[in-house]
Amino acid sequence: MSAGALFAARALLSRLLPFALFLAAWQALATSGLIAANFLPSVRAVAGALIDLGASPSFYADLGITLWRSLGGLMLGAVIGIPLGAGMAVSRGVDGLFGPLVKATYSLPKTALIPLLLLWLGVGSATSMVAVMFSTLLPFVVYTYHGIAGVPQILVWSARAMGTAQRRLLWKVLLPASLQAILTGLRIALGFSFVIAIAAEMIAANTGVGKLMFIYGESGAYDYMFAAVTAIVALAFVADRITVSISNRLLRWDDIENRLG
């Protein structure tokens, strides 16, 4: 093993050790008898439940549904939000029309739409997805807008001077130069998408991990409830890391300080 790899392995181990300490403290607290087993299932019990869930197809079905609702809604938010943000940045008319709407709804807690969507679309994936779409729309709009509005004017002038047409200017200059901002928006939107999808399932749904947690909680299967929470938190973490690594790959050409953490 080279010195570099050894160093990296040590650094990783040093970052993982706090998690091991956390789990050890949890296990010690749960088995100490200070807290009733109902209140805090032991790490062993939760790990057993997690392995059990990992072998059950119906759990993957619930996980898949939650993922479909969050990522599907995220896609809708991107498809509408990025062009809208770009349009607002390049056209005063579009900005004048949508700018006040964005400003007025920016601070609305987006979950407030869920009861309304339940009235309109009923209980099911449509409600979750549209709620996710609305909540992810604004980060895409705002970050795309600021990304494009922040492109140095000198880049635009240079491209124009070289005879670049308006449409090519958008694809070849404005969008690449604002890619970093758009990807930051994507990362924020991804976080929102999980929160809203899970919240919508908890408020009213028949399927999905959000619903499953409450079923376990109501039937007193607390080790399974903790396992389901662990699974969705781990999934959200992996999704976030994948987004960061894809973003950094896309931004390879850009300055190193513009990459995401």
């Binding site: 709407l101 007025a104 009861p115 976080g191 999980f194 947690m213 959200a236």
Partner: protein
């Protein structure tokens, strides 16, 4: 002499109204679509009916009482998050061992959907105030920790040396030098936390019940009281807007001495 400012004010008010034309158009379109009977009132009541509903709701205390409950939960949770977050963030900045222990946990916890922990919090704290306050605190503590830590690490080493040379103790150094110097960053963290606090309180109420605007809204939806649902929605929108702008104004006042005071961030 008096007329000029009046006219200037009138002109700027006019300009404000003109700039808001899309909102006015939206309100007119909403009213028209509902009045002309394109949609059933149970799905979309006219805006005027929603405003009409707000009057008896207000008089009966059914708007302000739930709003006060929600705001109390959001504020208590945020306050808890600020106290815990500042303590953890400053400790991380001043002590390596704490940073080593906490940093990976924060990196893992920050992007996690906190709402997923609600069933656990309900198990621990029941379905009343405490669960919502705890979830709000858990959601808001991450940005506060990161902001406090970031702010504390930007204190110029010269200032630390100067304070030490003048015989400042370690505790006083943290309190009188590091904390004020990290205030600008901290305020940004709190500003991020405020909307999180509101949305978390509303959402937890929608899921777990127990009153508040979120709880009342879901109840109204279950009884198909659509105008009431919209009334609560408008109150939430106004609350979010006013609080967001209030925090910005507060930031400008508190940080008057700081060069970033006028800076606007999104």
């Amino acid at each position: 002499m008096v007329m000029r400012p009046v006219r200037a004010i009138a002109r700027s008010v006019m300009r404000g109204i003109v700039a808001c034309y899309p909102l006015i158009l939206l309100a007119i379109a909403w009213e028209a679509v509902a009045r002309l009977g394109y949609v059933r009132p149970v799905f979309l009541p006219p805006l005027s009916a929603v405003i009409e509903r707000m009057i008896p709701l207000t008089l009966a205390g059914d708007l302000l009482q739930p709003l006060a409950v929600s705001l109390y939960r959001a504020a208590a949770g945020l306050a808890l998050a600020i106290v815990l977050g500042v303590a953890i963030g400053l400790l991380m900045a001043r002590m390596r061992a704490v940073r080593w222990l906490i940093d990976p946990l924060i990196a893992f916890g920050f992007p996690s959907p906190k709402i997923a922990f609600l069933p656990i919090f309900i198990l621990w704290f029941g379905i009343d105030h405490l669960t919502k306050i705890a979830l709000v605190a858990f959601t808001c503590v991450f940005p506060v920790i990161v902001a406090a830590y970031a702010g504390a690490t930007t204190v110029p080493t010269n200032q630390l040396w100067a304070a030490r040379a003048m015989g400042t103790t370690s505790l006083a150094l943290t309190w009188r030098v590091v904390l004020p110097a990290s205030l600008p960053s901290l305020m940004s963290g709190v500003r991020v936390g405020v909307p999180y606090a509101l949305v978390t309180a509303f959402t937890a109420e929608m899921i777990a019940g127990g009153g508040g605007l979120g709880g009342e809204m879901v109840l109204a939806q279950r009884y198909f009281e659509t105008p009431t649902v919209f009334a609560y929605l408008l109150v939430m929108l106004a609350t979010g807007y006013l609080i967001d702008h209030g925090v910005l104004a507060l930031r400008r006042r508190v940080l008057r001495w700081h060069e970033d005071a006028g800076a606007r961030d999104l």
